[in-house]
Amino acid sequence: MRLTRFLLRRTAQGILVVWGVITLVFLLRFITPGSTIDFVAPLDASPELRQRLAEDLGLNKPIYVQYADYIVNLLQLDMGNSLLKGRPASDVIFARLPATLELAIAATIVAILFSIPLGVISATRRHQPVDYGATGFSLIGISTPNFWLGIMLILIVGVNLGWLPTSRRIIGFGPALELLIFEGRTIGIQVWFEHILLPSITLGTYFTALITRLTRNGMLEELGQSYVEVTRAKGLPETLVKYKHVLRNTMIPIITVLGLQMGTLIGGAVITESVFNWPGLGTLIIDAINSRDWPLIQGSLIVIGVGFVVINIVVDALYMYFNPQVTFE
């Protein structure tokens, strides 16, 4: 009940933010020095051709008309044609989206799988070697630029040891899964896994380090609360005290910070893709910017903005789930 009401409210808010994002992206074109037509038209275009192109693209209309057209088109998921690829920008973007999603999800899984147990162990064995190791790891992890980490992984695991491929994504998870299910061949998944392993470690390390740190500090703080003593006085098994009570409450600050750090995840994905030539939205947006492919720039920015808003709603819902005291009023 509480959750449904919250989701409705939050979605309405999200739509407003998305509208703001769309408007800002629209305005971006007007703060850019140089006329748009200069980027679109071939260098040797005749004045007539330039004129025709400008008319085709609606560049001569008043701004508010252009804005209205732009919104109406967006509502139909029409982001215009990519100048670079000559195809609808939305097609180009949605073709790249799975690669980015796979990367982000894999990194999140890596992060959660390692960080929470590490943080718990670190907090429960305070001032023991494990704790120092985990603390040191998380300090280095949050201080390392992920693109450099990626390059070091390529250098060591790829170049020196030759264990794993260091660039590209030969096969997507979807097709790999199809191969496994319909033809019973595991090669697809294997290739997929080999290619995504280093990028997801690269992207996931910062988050692993961050969550380890948050879990450790959160657990330590939570262990000092009086209710912990009460649960012990009841005779509850220590593991239950730690997991059911302490860890659960530690999730609340972890989720808060994670919500604030989601931008870091997406930004990190962009740069990780660039390091590993990963054919996702990140490499796409960099190409688009370098070639001033406006429809593609706008489209990718909007997709990223919307993705970000959606992730944040999910994070808030999680927060709400773990913290019964919040009422979003």
Partner: protein
């Protein structure tokens, strides 16, 4: 050794090793509590009452440690069960709670003894329902008793798979508490007078008022039908009318079940209303003890006299302890010295008080005793210490 003694504490010392130095929060404390009585401990804030209570159920955490003493608890069944493995812990029907391992001790919590804490608001986990938390207390005992009644089996009954731990962190109410325990939680809530228990059981602590939370805590403490209930200032955080209600509930339950209660408070009114016997605590020690009549009508220790003198009307439920002139001692080992700890505030301090007094029997019942030379012989004005004696030798 009296036959109906249920808890016998001797020479208990608990210290905290902090960066500021060693704190002697409980100092060679000895006391005996009889089965079925309400024993009160009264003392100023910081005198070590809560640390004593927590020491009794071994909940002292780093940087604190119980450094000496025994806490003998009478339970023949338990004595039988542990005699073989830990013979040194057993003395007749008594088992030294400080000499048994943690898991055996844990199996006693909630059922042999149970505790009500000072501040109800912070004593519940804010993100689980009150009902869930009470049901947990029921469930611990249910699981323990569904096994053969051997203590070792009881400790093992809490075995719980790793998957369930992960589930417990994410999904509340899944994996540990059964619906039977939940039903019992509703009964318990009803028993302590919470209206609409069926609905209240699913509410969160922040939806309860302070008084209701304290009752819920009483319910939680009673879940395992404890033999000894340690109640650490069960009413301090509540307003006067609610204080009276909670005390009534405790009183009724005690009469019903015959359990033993150790009641800690700094409210003399509460002591007068509830207790059979009293210990007065000062600077980590029991400085005077005896029956209610001994302590209230024939106080021997100047500190007790000061306490009683400072409260005009014992029946006023709000009658809190007024500070006696002077400062509460810091309990820092380095500053304690080897004298009567009360000497710097004592109006009758004499030269001999610079050496530590023993506990002397005092006038009244056999139980009545005080840690003061005045219990042994009368005051000698000629020996009095000059009034500013401590101001000179011990600058603040």
């Amino acid at each position: 050794m009296s036959d109906d003694v249920i808890l016998r504490v001797s020479d208990l010392s608990t210290r905290f090793f902090t960066t500021d130095g060693q704190i002697n929060a409980v100092e060679s404390l000895s006391l005996e509590i009889e089965e079925g009585e309400v024993f009160g401990i009264v003392g100023e804030s910081g005198s070590g009452k809560s640390v004593t209570a927590r020491s009794l159920i071994r909940l002292i955490e780093s940087p604190g440690r119980i450094t000496s003493g025994t806490i003998d608890y009478r339970d023949e069944e338990l004595a039988e069960a542990v005699r073989e493995d830990y013979p040194e812990a057993v003395d007749g029907a008594f088992v030294d709670l400080l000499a048994i391992p943690e898991d055996v001790h844990r199996s006693l919590r909630g059922t042999a003894f149970s505790m009500i804490f000072q501040d109800p608001e912070s004593s519940f986990n804010p993100s689980l329902t009150v009902g869930e938390q009470i049901a947990e207390a029921v469930e611990v005992q249910r699981r323990a008793s569904s096994n053969p009644r051997s203590t070792r089996a009881r400790t093992r009954s809490s075995a719980y798979s790793l998957r369930s731990y992960a589930a417990a962190a994410v999904l509340p109410g899944r994996g540990y508490v059964s619906s039977d325990s939940k039903d019992r939680a509703i009964e318990l809530l009803q028993q302590v007078g919470i209206p609409d228990p069926e609905q209240r059981v699913d509410e969160y602590p922040h939806e309860y008022s302070g008084g209701m939370l304290q009752r819920a805590m009483v319910a939680q403490a009673l879940a395992g039908e404890p033999d000894v209930l340690v109640a650490d200032e069960p009413t301090t955080a509540l307003d006067v009318t609610i204080q009276a209600q909670v005390l009534d509930i405790l009183r009724d339950l005690q009469e019903e079940t015959g359990m033993t209660i150790l009641l800690i408070t700094h409210n003399l009114g509460v002591i007068a209303r509830m207790c059979d016997r009293v210990g007065v605590m000062y600077a980590g020690e029991i400085v005077e003890r005896g029956s209610l009549g001994d302590v209230f009508d024939r106080p021997t220790h100047p500190y007790t006299q000061g306490l009683l003198g400072s409260i005009p009307d014992l029946d006023a439920a709000g009658g809190r302890l007024q500070p006696i002139g002077g400062n509460v001692p810091s309990l820092l080992d380095a500053e304690m010295g080897d004298r009567c700890y009360f000497a710097d505030r004592c109006p009758k301090a004499m030269e001999e008080c610079l050496e530590k007094p023993a506990e002397y029997p005092a006038e009244g019942t056999d139980d009545h005793a005080a840690r003061c030379y005045l219990a042994d012989h009368p005051y000698e004005a000629s020996q009095a210490l000059p009034e500013d004696y401590f101001e000179e030798s011990e600058p603040p």
